[in-house]
Every structure is written in structure tokens, then in C-alpha cells.
Amino acid sequence: MSASRVTIVERIMDANDQVAELNRRRLDEAGVFGINLMASPGAGKTSTILKTIQMLQPDIKIGVVEGDTAPVTIDADKVLAAGMPAVQINTGGDCHLDAPMLDQGLSQLPLNELDLMIVENVGNLICPAAFKLGTHANVLIASIPEGDDKPYKYPNIYRGLDVLIINKIDLLPYIDFRMDYFRQGVEALNPGLITFEVSAKTGEGFEAWTQWLRGKVKKA
């Protein structure tokens, strides 16, 4: 019997990240721009998606992958009702979507008919930040009622973002939300981050957000 030490130095997320690479390749081959939409519960992910679909219809075809912790189809049903393909991925209680789950979701979407694929991640500001999916852009929806301290309390999710949407700005007159303080924290974590201030209720700011998306979507 002999004992010895074996040096490994292997990233624990490697297996996930390799599948994320494959997801990216699949999206690229189909000419689909993919976004990973993250937020805390109640920030307005589904209403933002529905409003986005409404603004981009009919010239841009959008597919949605809904991540939920339990087999409820409320969100997916709303997207289907808006006339776009949606698939529901039940994470079985897990707090986030990972790359193999998105792989399953992509298999159920008619990718070749799509221009844009939106993943609605599980409502959570911690875990989704750790799992790459293979999408082209990480987008976070922060909402005014959540408070202006969120970048300071959940720094990791802000660091990996490509776009920030600040939703429910119609509530600013009623809530103590210091936009300067909030955006200062964001700037510290992610300098120059592309940011849209919107209201999914009134539609304010959606012109700028959907223009950004139009610029990213490669029309075949």
C-alpha cells in the first residue's frame, strides 16, 4: 500500500461550461440570438418578455424557454397565448437553469424558424449567475420595488451582465429608490454596462430595449 498526492486543478464548472459551448454553437448554426434573462421573483420577467414579443412581432420570431422550479405552466402558457413557441423546463426544485437543461429546451424549439431565443431563468439573484448557458447575452431585470441596494448585496450577478433592464420605473414617485446610488453600485461592478430604464406596464423605455435587440438579431 502506498499513498500519494495527485494534482488536478480542474474547474468544478467545466462539465457545465462544455455543454454551454455546444448550446452556443447550436444557436449560432441556426442563426439565433440567445439571451439569458435573470431576475428575482416578481421583477417582471414574464411581462417584459410578453411586451418584448409584442414590440418585435411579426418581423422577429421569438422562442422562449421557461425555467421553473415546479411543473407549473403559467408563464409558458402566457407566451404560447402571445403566439410564440415556448417550452417549459422544470428544474425539479433546483434554483437555476444549467447548460444541460437548456440543451433539452433547445431540442424542443423549432430553432431554424427563430431569430431570437429568450431563456427565462428561475427567479433568483444568486445561483443563475454561476451557471453559463451558452446564450449570447446575460440580461438582468432589476425592479424599483426591490430596492436600490441590490447591486451591493448581490454583486456577482451584476458582474457577469451584458445588459441591465431597470423595470417598473413608473413606481419611482412612490418608492424610496435612489437611482444614483443604485447605478453607482452597478458601475463599480460592471463599468459601462448597457442599461435600459423601462416600465413593462406603460411601455416606457421598450423602444430603446427592443431597438438594441433588433440590432443583435441577425435576420436570415
Binding site: 495527485v6 457545465n16 454583486p155
Partner: protein, 116 residues
């Protein structure tokens, strides 16, 4: 709470490398985890005790080597540690910061036994 899938990855990495090195048993596993990764050591240990049974790594001790989240202030060059939250530089109050460490998340090494 994604420690179960994390722990499964750790088991896979350890047993694959252990088998390749000809191990008859893996006795220790050293993990390097930055303080910015939201992982709870006790939770990993809990799942580990369940899922490592019947594998090459059954009963292996997990060692968590924690790496603090160190940041460098761009304004005054002061270096300090973040305790989970984003805080301004304690010296000058600036929020222009570079994060130097704390994102580490890997299996560093394993200790194995071999039958000669």
C-alpha cells in the same frame, strides 16, 4: 442551493482522476473556493456523505481552502477584503474597484492510496 450538482461534479472529477492514477482509494480531496462563489461548505459535505458511498472516494475527507475576495481601489491603491457584499474603499470611499480574487472554484488535488 445548487450544492448537489456541484458535489456531483466534484465526485466525477475526483474519481476520474483517481482511477487514471491507479488509486484503490481516494482519502482526501482539496477544493479551492473563492468567497465570491455562493457555496456553503457544510452543504457540500452533507451531499458528499450521501453520494460518495460505493465509489472510489467513499469516506474521503473534503478540505475547503477558502480564498478571500480581495479588491484593489483604483482611486487610492488601497487593497482590502470584501465580506460578501460590495462595499466602498474603507480608506477613501471610492467605488472604483478591481476584484483581484474570490472567484476561484476548482478541485486542487486528491490524496490516493494504491495497492502495490
Amino acid at each position: 442551493m445548487h450544492e448537489l450538482s456541484i458535489t456531483e461534479n466534484i465526485l466525477e472529477i475526483a474519481t476520474r482522476n483517481g482511477a487514471r492514477a491507479g488509486a484503490s482509494r481516494i482519502t482526501d480531496i482539496t477544493l479551492v473556493i473563492g468567497d465570491l462563489s455562493s457555496i456553503v461548505d457544510d452543504s457540500v459535505q452533507f451531499y458528499w456523505d450521501m453520494i460518495s458511498q460505493g465509489t472510489l472516494a467513499e469516506g474521503a475527507r473534503l478540505h475547503f481552502r477558502r480564498v478571500p475576495a480581495r479588491v484593489h481601489c483604483q482611486s487610492c491603491a488601497h487593497e482590502f477584503e470584501l465580506a460578501g457584499q460590495l462595499n466602498p474603499c474603507p480608506e477613501c470611499g471610492s467605488l472604483s474597484l478591481d476584484i483581484l480574487s474570490g472567484d476561484e472554484f476548482y478541485v486542487d488535488s486528491i490524496e490516493i492510496e494504491k495497492k502495490e
